[in-house]
Point group: C2
């Protein structure tokens, strides 16, 4: 294979020639029109031939441009077809979703239930594991992560930027709650502290929550209960073991069912959103796209 013309410039040419306008081509390519203009000029310089005649504010293909357009379109079409073939080959396979421990039970499971209710024949494989995950080698179609900074090469969709709020079991509050004085007076031992482990530094603490609600209390973790998983904090609160800073997406079902009560309207946002990552090509699979769509709606659960 000899010297090849610049491929991205070829792509810009194909779109511009088809659109008949650099501006429209730029829109289709998702770049500025100046970028298209420069790419075309690159290609013209490479060939040593003009491809478009510029006359004021419009462009017309030259003979040379006309001559090569069909070939560019065909070649690029062939390459696009490669992608489609890659998809076809993996179409009959299971949909593999990978989630971190904390999201598996209280967040993903209920949502999958909705999905499987609608499409019972759908074959979904859920893997529970921490970042980083090698999507390619593990054949994972979709990875849910906390934070938008893992996997920069992958296509990313933000799902939900969650928040935490104080929750506990109704019985606990009846026993220890003291009227309207709120949480400020409660004993340190009633607080459940969530430890997200060494990998996640940005999780809101009780001190953060008190600061956000206008106070400055900082319950002593050594006095209270400590759990190593945010979903476990919610579960513990539901069991009456104390008052947790529960993530809204995890506590919602229990709150609606009355198994948990929110002790304050004040909430603190997490440092990062939850995000879905997938290989760009797989984003076009209907099942992957559908699942992402479902998950990005803050779909309630039962």
């Amino acid at each position: 294979m000899e010297r090849l013309p610049p491929l991205n410039a070829i792509r810009a040419f194909e779109v511009a020639a088809r659109a008949g306008s650099f501006t429209l081509a730029a829109a289709e390519l998702g770049v500025s029109s100046a970028a298209v203009s420069q790419q075309i000029r690159n290609l013209e310089t490479w060939f040593g031939k003009q491809l478009f005649v510029r006359s004021g504010n419009r462009i017309v293909l030259t003979d040379a441009g006309h001559a090569i357009y069909p070939q560019t379109a065909r070649a690029l079409g062939d390459i696009a077809a490669i992608g489609r073939r890659m998809l076809d080959g993996s179409l009959r396979t299971r949909l593999v979703v990978s989630v971190p421990f904390s999201l598996a039970e209280l967040w993903l499971a209920p949502r999958l239930a909705v999905l499987l209710d609608a499409f019972p024949q759908m074959a979904i494989d859920v893997r529970v594991e921490d970042d980083p995950v090698d999507l390619v080698r593990q054949n994972v179609d979709l990875r849910i992560s906390y934070g938008d900074y893992h996997y920069p090469a992958l296509r990313m969709v933000r799902l939900v930027h969650d928040e935490v709020l104080p929750v506990c079991a109704p019985e606990l509050w009846q026993r220890h709650g003291n009227g309207d004085s709120g949480l400020a007076e409660l004993h340190d031992s009633l607080f459940i502290h969530t430890n997200w482990g060494p990998n996640y530094a940005t999780h809101p603490t009780w001190a953060d929550w008190f600061a956000a609600s206008g106070g400055n209390r900082s319950p002593d973790p050594s006095q209270g209960r400590r759990v190593g998983l945010s979903s476990l904090a919610v579960a513990s609160a539901r069991l009456g073991l104390g008052i947790a800073l529960g993530q809204r997406v995890m506590a919602r079902a229990d709150l609606e069912a009355g198994r948990l009560i929110a002790l304050s309207p004040v909430s603190v946002r997490l440092g990062h959103p939850y995000c879905a990552f997938m290989p760009p090509l797989k984003a076009e699979r209907a099942d992957v796209a559908g699942l992402v769509e479902l998950l990005s709606k803050t779909a309630p659960s039962t």
Copy 2:
């Protein structure tokens, strides 16, 4: 046209698959093997599929890789064919060469004579003009320039890094030369000064030459003759009008014929080399490549 896979990664894949080795592919592409490795990984990430199986120090195509290779080869071949077609279209045309004034007469002309001697039917069009030249719009196939910094988008070949040395007509030296004391004692009015005009600041002056030859004389330009073209300096010297700092490539024929004599073995290199520029595709035209080849040999002239 939907989302396209990264084209340069496709190219890297095609070469790597054909070569069966990232290292060989890297050599063919003219990059490091790490670059190929990264491009392939990009593509695998895009598809969400492995294309090669790595086992220690060798690679084997996966089924997926095997499946798409022929298509990649065909699509890239098509694009390469576009280049060939562009060339064919312009094959019956003249060869257009553009040179700066200073090189036209004493440097390009004798060399073209050699070429036309061998290929009398060759249709060459010589244009004489200063930088910058718009090769595309003016339909120039080959531009010769002083300096390697014009036209960064074009393919460049360094032709010759010229030097200047003091030359004059033999009769002049007989009349004014003073034995072996060299140039140090000559009257200022005998020196010919070359003024390259506002665009070229790096031309060696008499002061530079004296510095290089161990002296520190600096003849007064207002006393001597001044010319605005380096080839004119040589021509003036040949006519006995004074002693010039002549460029070797321009003076060579006169020196060999005895019409000029070199007054010292000391020479000073020019600030930049002379370079040939051409649109990358046209570098593959046989006539263009041949002319560049001829010019880059420091071919003597008659």
